[in-house]
Amino acid sequence: MAAIVTRALSKTYKVIGKAAVRSLRGLDLEIAENEVFGFVGRNGAGKTTTIKLLCGLIHPSSGGASLFGEDIRLREARRLVGYMPEQPYFYEYLTPRETLTFYGRLRGLSAAQRQAQWDRVAGLLELEDIADRRIRGFSKGMRQRVGFAVALVGDPPLLILDEPMSGLDPIGRRMIREAILRLRDEGKTIFFSSHVLSDVEELCDRIGMLVEGRLVHHGRVDELPGRRMKEVEVSAEGLDGAAAATLVARSAGHRQIDQVHLFRVADLENANALAAEILAAGGRIRELQPVRESLDDFFARIQQKEAAK
């Protein structure tokens, strides 16, 4: 059974006296169980809106969605989700331990279950050393960890995380990344939004991209349609000055590091031709590497294409 299914899910914000904002337009999405799904798009694209809809914080203007077959309007659906908001806010006057106890009680866990929960989560997110300090004095990274911990309370099979790594230092990000991978291996489904495309590329099985509330792309990271090979880099050595000069003239770009020449050409065709000339001139090929368009470039291009429509 699919973990998340949305059917023409739409949200229009109506504020009295202002123009209506169509934040999400007819989202059709299906996310399989045990999948890690990355949700990307520019600021204001509608990522948080989608996530809030799935977690029951706002009500759809039209369309619907279900989580493991349970309609999102029902309380039962929310039993299956752990949600971490964009910037997790908690009661400042509680400690992390008290916070997790509180959410455990909201989930109807017994005292023993809550303790077991704490041991599991505190270990995963290194909460022990801050367990009994009030959240009031916490840094952003500590709050983020508590936010993640709260999403894990009750061991839900689906985690919906809104920018789980924003504002964290490299160590903090690695902690979250490792936690996500570990949860995936435990069989959880993870849906998260992010602006850091390298994280998305590294973690996700599939991604979806929103532009102004519409899903313009979704699919496996390595099979995104139209993701171009940007150029090919040919690394060679053993060339004399004159031979190198003629080859530089033939390539799109060139760098030299000590005796190693790095030529850049448009595609594999040109790379093969260039390689043949290098060999003919008595040089040796060290490496031939296709440079794929980065995910950032790919998205920038899609954005421009959509904006032009």
């Binding site: 914080l57 039962e76 971490m84 006057y93 959410y103 909201l106 709260v150």
Partner: protein
């Protein structure tokens, strides 16, 4: 269970926010105030002390209900602390009820302590208390249930400042609902007259909960009246709470 968890937390928040320091002010005001008034009217000391204690309980209780109550839901929405709560497997009304009962528990503690302080003070002055004093204290508390329910309803709809102003006006007019009926005779039969009549029947008559002068003068009040007043307050609170839950149910957070 879930309602209790939310209520317990609301209570704890108010305590950690030092709301109960109000009790200290209560003690100071009661002692100083009753002294000052006592000097003015010699020989009536105990009557005045009792009346003054009950009036202070009413005012300080109302201050807590209004200031904490009108920000109860608003603060959660504003600070986004309820994102992770509403996304739990719970009904939204459970959250509203939890917030309400948390504040009610706090008020119970505050009014209970104020009653105890008053009793002790009156004993020290050599007076003794009759049942009617405690009936008056209980109805004071019950009145605050209505005020709190109204405050919670407004905190789902509007900002704390506007909410506090509205609840305050209702509190003042609720003690003097008669003004809505006592219009000068030239208004007879006009729309204004009917309009104020409607208001009269909508605004809870908070004077129904006022047994201060009976308590001061040791005039017994029947249990039947007390029971009626309790039922009256419960009904009003229930209606206001249902409205608060409905207002909160469809809200986009």
């Amino acid at each position: 269970m879930r309602v209790l968890a939310v209520a317990g937390n609301t209570f704890r928040e108010a305590v950690r926010d030092k709301v109960l320091y109000v009790l200290l002010f209560f003690a100071i005001i009661v002692i100083l105030g009753s002294r000052a008034l006592g000097w003015i009217s010699v020989g009536q000391d105990l009557k005045i002390v009792k009346d003054f204690c009950l009036a202070s309980m009413s005012v300080f209780g109302a201050l807590i209900a209004i200031f904490v109550g009108t920000s109860l839901l608003y603060k959660e929405i504003d600070k986004k602390t309820l994102y992770t709560i509403i996304s739990q497997p719970m009904h939204r009304y459970e959250f509203v009820l939890g917030k309400y009962f948390g504040l009610v528990a706090l008020l119970a503690l505050a009014l209970g302590s104020m009653s105890a302080l008053s009793t002790a003070y009156i004993f020290v002055l050599g007076g003794k208390l009759n049942l009617v004093f405690f009936q008056a204290a209980l109805l004071n508390f019950w009145k605050l249930l209505v005020v709190t329910a109204l405050a919670v309803l407004l905190s789902a709809l509007t900002s704390p400042i506007l909410g506090a102003i509205i609840v305050f006006c209702c509190f003042v007019f609720g003690h003097a609902t008669g003004v809505f009926l006592d219009l000068p005779p030239q208004f007879n039969g006009t729309f204004t007259k009917h309009f104020f009549e409607v208001i009269y029947y909508c605004v809870p008559n908070l004077d129904n909960f006022n047994l201060h002068s009976e308590a001061a003068n040791d005039i017994p009040v029947s249990l039947a009246y007390t029971a009626w007043a309790l039922a009256y307050g419960t009904a009003y609170s229930a209606v206001l709470l249902i409205m608060a839950c409905l207002a909160f149910e469809g809200k986009d957070l």
